[in-house]
Amino acid sequence: MNYLMHLMVYFEIFAIVALSLNLMLGYGGLLQIAHAGYYGIGAYSATLLWVHFGFGFIPGLILAGVCAGFLSLLVSLPARRFKGDYFVMVSIAVQALIYAVLYNWTSVTNGPFGISGIPKPEVLGVEFSSTGAVTLLYGFIALIFIGVISLLKTSPFGRALQAIRDDELAAKSVGIPVNKLKMQVFAIASALVGCAGGLYAAYVSYIDPTSFNLNESILMLSMVVIGGVGNIRGPLLGAFILITLPEALRFVALPDAIAANIRLLIYGVLLIILMLVRPQGLAGNYRYQ
């Protein structure tokens, strides 16, 4: 039971991650590979606020989101100028930079050794120490975020965003401020994934830079691509598949040494097949054009 709860917590965290990436990719049409970097910024800033500055759980989480949202300028400023491949390159560059800073700024992030002893979440004086309690708390938070994102989707903001995605020039011609909206969606998505990073840090109580490298970004991207983008259920499905698939594989009698490889192999094959057969993902309703 505890094991299932543990999976549930991961699913809740990655549901937020996938939905925030979906906000960029599915509604904004912007393929970015720096998501794990912002996840890391969120995790680290939340940790520093909790451990060194004695912030409470919720204020620390919110400030971490603000931090990640503010730093999203790193990708959203280039996004004004670049599209397609070049933008992907810029986002890879940003990912590499964030990782280098997390890894090398030893006085603040403790470098490759990471930070341990992160306090468990505590809200209104109640400490959520057991896995079950964390599941409930995170489920509640994830639901709030899902609600916010579905509101965004049907709001004028969301519709304008989809207009930009489908035809930037036409959107511009009817007076939608394209660059401003892009910056806003980057800020929102980065803030959300920053919060998710904080949740992750509080749950595992130990973070180090390797959880936030390029491979992790690729994993997040495949989550969204496999599930599909442009709606709420696609990313949720993607997060669910990528969280449960490795666990399901545990029950198949595989030699331990290659289990992780088989898992990644399946991701890779899924990515290729989906791109060939169903580029909008399993449950998505938007395909890149």
Binding site: V88, A100, Y267, L271, M275
Partner: protein
């Protein structure tokens, strides 16, 4: 001086990866990440052939052929169907990423994920004044320069080579003129894979190899291509040399840990200040 020599040697290798990347990217607009997988795979095939008692030159040629064939296979199975569907670059990129993951995981399953080395003996060191260069360090870049020379000649003087350059300029027009675009795309993937195998084996001979080396080096190659600008040979090579020198300086004066950061800062600077690259032909910015 020693730093500059090291930088140039590293730069030649990065530039060669850039050439391999540019051969695909400039002609087919495919962001060929899977090339990193082929880069990782080459030394494994090479050493496997060596253990079968093949002579060195034969193993080199055979592994080059195998990798070229795999490059062609990637185009045939993944990118050609996508091209026929007129898929956008992002879809090609994600599919290529998938192919990269598959190749690397297969390597790990068959050969394990430890770093390996090709041969044990310590190489001779040549000294010239206060500069010392290991023989092995030179071997890779020399082979690579030879290979690039061949490709350069081929691009300039053979029919296929000229068609390939035309493909990068205007693929639709080339198709209208009755050339076989599909076979040209296959050729581009093939040659790029062959070149990457030479670079990879050259590096492996000197430094050893591991399954995960591919992605980092291919990112460097991409950066070299982009800061180099338009062109197949000179532009990526210039970009590569610039990167190699910069990285050597950063390692010397700072720390090896900031190498990657310096690389990408250079890329961002270029993208902002000179997005057309070092060698730019007069085109509109939008058509980059």
């Amino acid at each position: 001086m020693q730093i500059i020599i090291n930088g140039i040697l590293q730069g030649i290798l990065i530039g060669a990866v850039g050439v391999a990347f540019a051969l695909v990217y400039r002609t087919t607009k495919v962001f060929h990440v899977a090339l990193g997988g082929l880069y990782s795979l080459s030394p494994y095939i090479f050493t496997m052939l060596l253990t079968f008692q093949f002579p060195i030159w034969l193993s080199l040629v055979v592994s080059m052929l195998i990798i070229s064939f795999l490059g062609f296979a990637l185009e045939f199975t993944i990118h050609r169907p996508l091209f026929k569907k007129d898929a956008p670059p992002e879809v090609n990129l994600i599919a290529s990423l998938g192919a990269y993951i598959v190749i690397v995981q297969l390597i790990e399953i068959f050969w394990g994920n430890e770093s390996q080395i090709v041969q044990q003996q310590v190489s001779q060191v040549w000294r010239l004044g206060n500069v010392s260069v290991a023989q092995l360090q030179l071997l890779g870049p020399l082979c690579v320069i030879l290979a690039i020379g061949v490709i350069h000649f081929w691009l300039k003087h053979s029919n296929k080579g000229i068609e390939l350059r035309a493909l990068s300029d205007n693929s639709t027009l080339l198709a209208l003129l009755g050339r076989n675009i599909n076979s040209l795309r296959g050729t581009a993937f093939c040659i790029s894979a062959g070149l990457i195998s030479i670079v990879s084996i050259g590096v492996a001979w000197d430094l050893g190899f591991s399954p995960h080396a591919g992605l980092d080096i291919i990112l460097l190659g991409m950066v070299a291509t982009i800061i180099g600008g338009k062109g197949f040979i000179w532009a990526p090579m210039a970009g590569g040399l610039l990167l190699g020198l910069l990285r050597a300086e950063v390692v010397w004066f700072g720390s090896a840990r900031w190498e990657e950061a310096a690389t990408f800062i250079l890329l961002v600077l270029f993208l902002f200040l000179r997005p057309q690259g070092i060698f730019a032909s007069k085109t509109r910015l939008e058509s980059l």
